[in-house]
């Protein structure tokens, strides 16, 4: 069962809460592992409790008995199986327009989860937001806009010129004597 379920928009409050009121069980939690470490040490860590810290990416996928949330750190991404309510409580997921909430997940690591078709995953029993996500703006550089417009004009001119003067210039006869042309082959 998930330790913390977050309501949308409550990420900052949860962050503060997590900082001020540490849950006693967290003292026993292992330090966060990178996704790469989990992959490289899969046989050793199979069935053991691990911690994972990373950004929630994509979308939560709510299923009948729980939800999938994919978490990415700098080394890779991994699926985390958690309660549906916990997943619904994650305010922001990483995408083009946003950096997702950073989650710290603790749970049991499976090298090839029998319950989930052999996927490598973590079954979470604790999830907290350690940093809220944020929207990301993608400003358009003015110089690039000017370059794009100029190039568009050049392209329009070139295509118009080809349409006006080049349409009837399709190939008709082979160059004499060249290998592969009708005359030489």
């Amino acid at each position: 069962m998930s330790r913390v379920a977050l309501a949308p928009g409550m990420a900052a409050a949860a962050l503060l809460l997590a900082a001020l009121v540490p849950a006693p069980a967290f003292a026993e939690d292992p330090p966060p592992s990178a996704v790469t470490d989990l992959v490289e040490r899969a046989a050793e860590l199979d069935g053991r409790r691990v911690a994972l810290e990373g950004e929630a990416i994509g979308s939560p996928m709510i299923r009948d008995s729980g939800a999938w949330v994919n978490i990415a750190d700098r080394s890779g991404a991994l699926g985390v199986w958690m309660g549906a309510e916990t997943a619904r409580g994650i305010a922001r997921f990483g995408s083009y327009g946003a950096v997702g909430d950073t989650l710290r997940v603790t749970g049991v690591f499976h090298r090839a989860c029998a319950e989930h078709g052999g996927d490598m995953d973590v079954h979470a029993d604790g999830t907290i937001v350690t940093a809220p996500g944020r929207p990301v703006a993608h400003p358009v550089p003015a110089g690039r806009v000017v370059a794009a417009l100029a190039l568009a004009l050049v392209a329009a001119g070139a295509v118009a010129a080809l349409a006006a003067f080049g349409q009837d210039r399709g190939p008709r006869t082979p160059p004499p004597g060249y290998p592969g042309s009708a005359k030489s082959s």
Binding site: A77, G94, A147, A158
Partner: protein
């Protein structure tokens, strides 16, 4: 020595390459529409630069066509090889401008990987890519699967001579209709039918696994394009493993399996000739080699104990062996899991599957089921001839959308291409070993690159040596064009430095 090319020869080749570039410029309309729809204006500007560059350069080159000229075999072949290189540069422009690639080389690598339907990627922070650029990556793969020249043949080159040479240069030699332009259009019609069905099926599958409606649609369209093209790109860094769904994986299998079949077989089935499915040599060849290699991989994995239950073993084993054999490259495991969790014997089965590949005249790569069948039948015929009295004779034929003679010339051609594939794989493997990777890792990645597969054992990454990126890029190009067009380009370049014709 081959005669030195004249100015008109260069003009014909560049003019055809220009027409193909115009086709690419038109294709840019798809991601541009997505960018406008989603309000991704930074991506819109980047894509519009790529689009304008394609149209401007394409029109300039197309205008070079001599008035009194007609291309021959060599022009068609060389134009195809040049077109693929030109398309790579033009498609890479928005990649580089997006900031998701560390260098121009990485951008070019991904463009070539897309066009050749390989699916290996050097993109960084894929999970934050714009929808427009993700669309462009998958459209590039989709166009590459049908063939960039097929695209131009369908809409731009069709009426003129030289179309067949361009078509064959792109490693497609089936004629569904007498006119090659009609054949090219038929290929696009077949793909369009599957596009509608595939996107719909994956959209529903996406909804059923909990994706929001809009996400399910985009993911459905992207994954369909990668599946049908046996491309292997995916919108998220975990590839198909992102979805955590057997249903989604099965729908993917249906479409990448279909994409790996010969377009002539699709045409036969769509025109009511369902018996062809059971008689076709390529289908039989694929079924036999897949069954053998899957059994081998499953046996090896069962021995390793990686996958405890039979259900998980079959799901992981089946998915990856069929992904390898169809040269799709979709994965539901992390790349390093192959190295860490799969046994050497299972990896050998995967390497053989990647090298064998899908059908001829399909979106798949590899040696191809047709050649595997031809070589098997040739061996069988030779053994049979040895056992029969010397004066006995028998028919040497193969059935694939009609009976074909299996003469010495045909067998020699198939053996030559198979030999070239193996030689290229050895070269790619040696390059990997020289770059410091283990022989097994290098052999696995080498097979993936040579067969245009896209499965990775962890070698392909932005941090890999630049020289290895260049080798892999060239191997993808050579493998996709099945050597002929590239050899023709080599001959053309050499002849350019030869003696001038009297």
């Amino acid at each position: 020595m081959t005669a030195r090319p004249r100015l008109d020869d260069y003009r014909i080749i560049l003019a055809y390459s220009g027409r193909v570039a115009i086709g690419l410029g038109a294709v840019y309309a798809v991601p541009l529409a997505v960018a406008a729809l989603e309000g991704e204006w930074a991506a819109f500007v980047d894509l519009s630069i790529g689009c304008s560059a394609s149209l401007a350069l394409g029109a300039a080159l197309a205008s070079l066509m001599p008035r009194e000229a007609r291309p021959g075999w060599l022009h068609g072949m060389v134009a195809t090889a040049v077109s693929w290189l030109l398309e790579m540069f033009l498609a890479a422009i928005p990649y580089r401008l997006s900031g998701h690639y560390a260098s121009w080389l990485d951008s070019l690598f991904d463009a070539m990987s897309g066009f050749t339907t390989t699916g290996l990627t050097l993109v960084q922070d894929l999970d934050h890519l714009s929808r427009a650029l993700n669309t462009w990556r998958h459209v590039v793969t989709f166009v590459g699967g049908q063939g960039v020249v097929v695209l131009a043949l369908s809409f731009l080159v069709g009426g003129s001579r030289g179309g067949y040479e361009l078509y064959v240069g792109e490693a497609k030699d089936e004629r569904l209709f007498p006119r090659v332009a009609h054949t090219a259009k038929a290929i696009w019609k077949i793909s369009a039918v599957y596009l509608a069905v595939g996107v719909g099926a994956l959209w529903v599958a996406g909804l059923s696994i909990g994706l929001p409606a809009k996400e399910a649609f985009y993911h459905g369209a992207w994954v369909y394009m990668a599946a049908w093209s046996t491309g292997g790109f995916a919108p998220m860094s975990q590839n198909v493993g992102y979805y955590h769904s057997a249903v989604y994986e099965l729908v993917c299998v249906a479409f990448f399996l279909a994409g790996s079949l010969n377009f002539a077989l699709h045409h036969a089935l769509m025109t009511g000739n369902r018996r062809e499915l059971a008689r076709n040599a390529e289908v039989i060849s694929f079924t036999v080699t897949f069954a053998g290699l899957f059994t081998l991989a499953a046996w090896a994995l069962a021995g390793s104990g990686t996958y405890g239950g039979i259900a998980t073993l079959l799901r992981k084993g089946f998915y990856h062996v069929i992904s390898a054999h169809t040269t799709t490259g979709f994965m539901t495991v992390a790349a390093r899991q192959f190295a860490r969790e799969w046994t050497p014997l299972a990896l050998c089965a995967m390497i053989l599957a990647m090298m064998a590949g899908g059908s001829a005249c399909s979106t798949a790569g590899g040696v191809k089921g047709m050649r595997v069948a031809m070589l098997w039948l040739a061996i069988r015929n030779e053994v049979r001839a040895l056992l029969l009295p010397s004066h006995a004779s028998f028919r040497r034929r193969i059935h694939a959308s009609g009976d074909r003679d299996l003469g010495d010339g045909v067998v020699k051609g198939a053996a030559l291409v198979a030999l070239l594939y193996v030689a290229t794989w050895v070269l790619a493997t040696m390059a990997g070993v020289a770059a410091g990777y283990s022989p097994m890792d290098a052999a696995f990645e080498g097979a993936s690159v040579t067969g245009n597969v896209g499965l990775s054992i962890g070698v392909t990454a932005p941090g890999m040596p630049a020289a290895l990126k260049v080798v892999y890029l060239l191997v993808m190009w050579v493998g996709r064009l099945e050597f002929m067009a590239v050899l023709a380009l080599g001959r053309f370049v050499l002849s350019a430095f030869g003696r001038r014709r009297p």
